[in-house]
């Protein structure tokens, strides 16, 4: 704990606290985790904001993510280029959104991005099929998948375009009782 100051300046820590839901200690811990992922890539000293990114393959192997069927999507949707390589900023951002304190609205926005596999800003049937197959490890028959996807669209689609826009998604997720309790990762 003695070398706290050498990782971030106080201003940086304050800025991170303003921008995320984390406390100072948690940010330092996050940096520790981030550093662990790729010790040769990530410097210990962040005071001059070095520009480095950790590749997707390393991040999805974190214990917090490695069992998650949507791990690649999570990381991708938080990376700036969509390629899944995260800078420390994005890394912190990811866990901030997934933290317990983040409000439902914010979580909904990113959940939508995560489930939007083909990044077309709609959850179309293809996205739903992928989601479902990942959730069930492809143990449902194609007919069942088809049925579930159809039912989902039928339930949530308000404007009748046979895919879910963000408005539809938000409307649906805002009433889900479990969304807040399950859509978070503690780190």
């Amino acid at each position: 704990m003695g070398n706290k100051q050498t990782i971030f300046t106080d201003e940086q820590l304050d800025a991170y606290q303003d921008c995320t839901f984390f406390t100072r200690k948690e940010i330092l811990r996050l940096h520790g985790r981030y550093h662990e992922l790729a010790p040769h890539l990530v410097p210990m000293d962040y005071t001059n904001e070095p520009d480095c990114k950790v590749p997707l393959s390393l991040i999805v192997n974190m214990p917090e993510l490695k069992e998650n069927p949507f791990r690649n999507r999570i990381v991708e949707s938080f990376s700036e280029g969509g390629d899944g390589n995260l800078s420390f900023n994005e890394f912190v951002d990811m866990f901030s959104v997934l933290s317990e304190m983040a409000p439902r609205e914010l979580k909904a926005i990113y959940a939508f991005k995560i489930y939007d596999f083909n990044v077309d800003n709609f959850l179309c049937k293809e996205d739903l099929e992928k989601t479902l197959n990942r959730l069930t490890k492809e143990e449902l028959t194609p007919e069942e998948v088809e049925l579930v996807c159809d039912k989902t669209i039928e339930e949530a689609d308000l404007d009748g375009d046979n895919k879910l826009s963000f408005a539809d998604f938000e409307n649906m997720i805002s009433r889900a009782p479990d969304f807040l309790s399950t859509f978070h990762i503690r780190i």
Binding site: E26, E105, L106, I109, E155, D161, M172, S181, F183
Partner: protein, 953 residues
């Protein structure tokens, strides 16, 4: 402008970013385009400000504050527009070297973000640009990006058009522009400040500063990438720093500055305090680790345990600080009076471990139990009102517990919201069933399996092809199961009653000549019943064939009934014992009075007033039923704790060890087969905790040490169970959601709290306290202490008022009023509920209607589109190129307006002709509104702001 609009701007911009990124993939020129955009995004705010300021330049004097670069005098707005049009046309022709041309043409080219005012001639800028171009391509791009925004977006539009991009893009551009303009407004206010400060301007500035502050505070909920958040944070902070000191003048200024400083300090303090608070939360990492291994349901038990620990901590502080410590410090010391001394008969064995373990001997005659306390009204130099304090702490413990439980329940209810809605069954399963906390392979596999099953079940239900196999058999089995369970309950109740009776007989004989088992029979039987009956219930419940969730609830209900039955039999038996003790007490009291009378008689004869000083240990005394009750509860808690720990060690740890190490030399696979590893039983553990707490509440009045003991127990079980879970349990196969059952547990806790305070209150109110022990000795009833205090410690008028207030004539109407109020509130809440249901129905109807409407509209739009396409194909090669540009601007705007209306009408003809080369798949596929992401639906607001800003210039 309002914070809202700012937010919406901000969000919309973010959306745009996303969209742009997406679309870029389809673009040919994507590399340069994207880079340009991004660069602009990062620096856009400042540029915008600059630009805007330049526009207003004629009116405002320069102060040249941050100038670092050469400046350029700005030409009039019309001129600029002219330039602008020319440039666009030119660019059409020479697309290849756009960048350099653009740079030359830009009226307000800014090389550096810090440049605020430009005064030099265009030529100079040109030169500089060229230089920079040499330096690096990146700089060029930046310069480009720093060019006039409108130009740029226009140019980009053009690019896109040529590359067949969709018209959506333009909409986005537009909103981006809007946003920029908005930012300009912001900056404008900032600029105004630097010169003269008229009141309105000051007001505006203040608003702007406040807005920034709000932005800083709400930054963390913004869905932006972190880099952007950091940048805007820094900017806002700089802005606030710079201008908030300037607000206010004269006296007001000083006060304002002071206020600002204080708020800053306060915020800093708050943050530090927050940081400090989170470090104080105990076992956070432990729970986190468990959570990642076993999912949220197991972790919910530990969170519940921690919550319980917190409550017990408060209870402990109350009893320890206000009862035990004052008595120990200021009360009479041990051995001074009979109630504080071990009687002569027990003295020999008072220090034996076996006796102490049973809380007899010295433990019994200590602050740990009710009997030790003296009835002296005020003790020590503080004149501490001990009996009153004792009584009030007893009441306060219960009151505090009620308050906390009810408050937590209300909060949970708020969080869970309306959960009975079943309209999104599949969607919720799809999007919220995965528990993101899971980080353990086995748990994950179980979760996958349970999700699959739940989907299959839902599909079955959906198809309504659920075959009911022999309903009569299931019914019969269920009735049978319930009958068996009832038998179990009755049997266990009888067993406890029998055992308690027997133990009373033993107690009369004297405990010494009985074995350990006979002395601890009651507690052991109760603990064993609590251990084995749930297993029996589990076996029985397999008969019933319920859905696992329903089965779990039945199981919980049964265990609850069992515990409750056991507890109440125990209490009833205890009541019997209390009555016995009271009879004994009567006899002792009678003996003492006769003995004292005879003694007094001899004394008076002697007339030398030296009464034979009897050693307090020899004084005859009553049995003190309160201490007995306290002891029983303490023993119960101890034995319960022991059984819990021992079952943990044997049932979990030993089993795990055996399974692991005997597996090598066994004939079947122990790990997968019969014994296997145990699961963590969340519901059973929670129930155990709840009942334990109930016993604390019940016994705390007679044994002030109970909260302390419980604290110790919880502390140990936290570590022990954490360790046991991590080392010898396997994740549950049936994973249930924790959120829904949270309030279920809370409700049980409330019921237990009520049921456990009931007997305590009954004994306090109806049974007179023992005559020679405890703080209330000598009084008729325990609550007389209140009366006494009122009479002697308060002024006369107060007790008078109190006696009037407690007069039935006043109390009855008051109760009536309360009943009426409750009735009224209940009926209104019923009405609200009905209204809620109605509204829900309405909403659903509307949704369906909307769906239909939208479908119709989509069809129509499609047809329109077909027609339009035909028309456009006829019009091919007609419109000249130059015309397109001008047209295109209008069109894109129009389109924007249309799209806001929720439906896409056929685009204007001119536009279509322009875009003939596009594959047109876009509109075809998506006839809906382009409000696909948050923020975009709010664009209308943005638009509103744009209009005035245009008019002004």
């Amino acid at each position: 402008m309002s914070q809202d609009s700012l937010d919406s701007l901000v969000t919309s911009e973010n959306d745009i970013d996303i969209r742009l990124d997406v679309d870029d993939e389809y673009e040919q020129e994507r590399q340069s385009g994207r880079r340009r955009k991004r660069r602009r995004r990062s620096g856009d705010k400042k540029e915008k400000k600059k630009k805007h300021q330049r526009r207003r330049s004629s009116s405002s004097a320069r102060d040249g504050r941050e100038e670092r670069q050469t400046k350029k005098r700005e030409s009039s707005k019309k001129q600029r527009e002219k330039h602008f049009k020319e440039r666009t046309t030119e660019r059409n022709e020479e697309e290849a070297q756009t960048s350099s041309v653009k740079a030359t043409k830009t009226n307000k080219n800014i090389n550096n973000e810090k440049t605020r005012k430009t005064k030099t001639a265009e030529r100079e800028t040109e030169k500089r640009n060229e230089k920079k171009m040499d330096k690096s391509p990146k700089t060029i791009e930046r310069k480009e990006s720093e060019g006039k925004n409108t130009d740029k977006s226009k140019e980009r539009k053009k690019h896109k058009k040529v590359q067949n991009s969709s018209d959506e893009e333009k909409t986005k551009e537009e909103s981006e522009e809007d946003k920029e303009e908005q930012e300009e407004l912001d900056k404008e206010q900032e600029e105004v400040r630097s010169e003269c400060l008229s009141p309105e301007e000051l007001e505006k500035l203040k608003e702007a500063v406040d807005e920034r502050k709000k932005l800083i505070q709400s930054l963390r909920v913004k869905p932006w990438p972190m880099k952007k958040k950091l940048v805007s944070l820094r900017e806002s902070q700089e802005f606030v720093e710079k201008y908030e000191g300037a607000l206010g003048k004269g006296k007001g200024r000083k006060i304002y500055a002071y206020k600002v400083i204080m708020t800053k300090k306060w915020m800093k303090f708050e943050r530090d305090f927050e940081n400090f608070k989170t470090t104080l939360i105990p076992w956070e990492m432990k729970i986190k680790e468990i959570e990642s291994h076993f999912g949220s349901s197991v972790a919910s038990y530990f969170i519940f345990l921690r919550w319980m620990y917190g409550i017990n901590m408060i209870l402990f502080c109350l009893t320890f600080g206000l009862v035990m410590v004052p008595e120990a410090l200021m009360g009479r010391p041990y051995g001074s009076i009979p109630r504080k001394t071990v009687p002569r008969a027990e003295e020999a064995s008072a220090m034996d471990f076996a006796v102490l373990w049973d809380f007899g001997g010295y433990a019994q005659y200590s602050v740990l139990f009710y009997g030790f306390y003296n009835n002296q009204r005020a003790i020590g130099w503080l004149k501490f009102r001990m009996p009153l304090s004792y009584f009030l702490v007893g009441v306060g413990t219960v009151a505090y517990s009620y308050m906390v439980v009810i408050r937590t329940m209300a909060r949970n209810a708020n969080e869970s919201g309306i959960g009975d809605d079943n309209s999104f069954n599949f969607s919720w399963k799809m999007f919220t069933s995965w528990d993101y906390l899971i980080g353990n392979t086995e748990t994950a596999d179980n979760k996958f399996a349970s999700i699959t099953t739940s989907f299959k079940e839902a599909i079955l239900e959906e198809q309504e092809s659920r075959k009911d196999d022999n309903i009569h058999l299931t019914r019969f089995l269920r009735v049978l199961a319930n009958f068996l369970v009832l038998c179990c309950l009755a049997g266990s109740g009888y067993l406890i009653y029998f055992v308690v009776r027997r133990s009373q007989k033993f107690a009369l004989d004297g405990l010494e000549n009985h074995t350990w088992w006979e002395r601890n029979e009651v507690n052991m039987v109760m603990s064993l019943l609590g251990m084995f009956c749930p297993m029996l219930f589990d076996v029985i419940s397999t008969l019933e064939n319920y859905h696992p969730r329903v089965a779990l609830q039945w199981q919980l209900g049964r265990i609850f009934a069992l515990f409750l039955g056991n507890l109440y039999t125990f209490i009833i038996a205890l009541m019997d014992e209390i009555n016995l003790k009271r009879k004994e007490e009567m006899i002792v009291k009678y003996n003492i009075t006769t003995w004292e009378n005879s003694f007094n008689g001899t004394v008076s004869e002697n007339s030398t007033a030296t009464p034979i000083s009897l050693h307090p240990a020899d004084v005859p005394r009553g049995p003190c039923w309160e201490t007995m009750v306290g002891q029983e509860f303490v023993r119960l808690i101890i034995s319960d704790t022991m059984t819990t720990y021992i079952t943990l060690l044997i049932g979990d740890f030993l089993r795990a060890v055996l399974v692991r190490f005997l597996n090598h030399c066994w004939c079947w696979d122990l790990e997968a087969g019969f014994p296997s590893y145990s699961e963590f039983d969340v519901s059973g553990n929670v129930l155990g905790l709840i009942f334990n707490q109930g016993m604390i509440w019940m016994g705390a009045f007679y044994a002030p040490c109970l909260p302390a003991l419980n604290l110790l127990r919880l502390h140990i079980s936290m570590y022990l169970q954490c360790w046991a879970v991590m080392c010898c349990n396997v994740p549950q196969e049936r994973v249930f959601k924790a959120s829904g059952s949270n309030n279920f547990y809370m409700a049980m806790l409330l019921v237990i709290l009520f049921l456990s305070t009931l007997p305590a209150i009954y004994t306090i109110v109806t049974i007179p306290p023992s005559f020679d022990c405890g703080p209330f000795s000598g009084k008729n009833r325990m609550f007389d202490v209140i009366h006494e205090t009122l009479e002697s410690d308060f002024p006369v008028w107060f007790s008078k008022v109190f006696s009037y207030a407690s007069n039935p004539g006043l109390v009855l109407p008051f109760i009536l009023l309360m009943v009426l109020a409750i009735y009224y509130l209940q009926s209104t809440s019923k009405n609200y509920k009905e209204a809620n249901v109605k509204l829900k129905k309405k909403l659903q109807m509307q949704n369906e209607e909307n769906k239909k409407k939208n479908k119709r509209a989509a069809l129509k739009a499609q047809m329109d589109l077909e027609e339009a396409r035909k028309a456009s194909s006829q019009q091919k090669h007609v419109s000249p190129r130059r015309h397109q540009d001008v047209n295109e601007i209008h069109c894109s705007r129009q389109r924007h307006y249309y799209s806001k209306n929720g439906r896409n009408p056929a685009p204007p003809v001119g536009d279509r002709s322009l875009r003939r080369s596009a594959p047109r798949t876009y509109q075809h596929v998506n006839p809906g509104p382009p409000g696909y992401l948050p923020g975009l639906p709010r664009q209308s607001e943005t638009r509103m702001h744009r209009v005035p800003s245009l008019q002004r210039h």
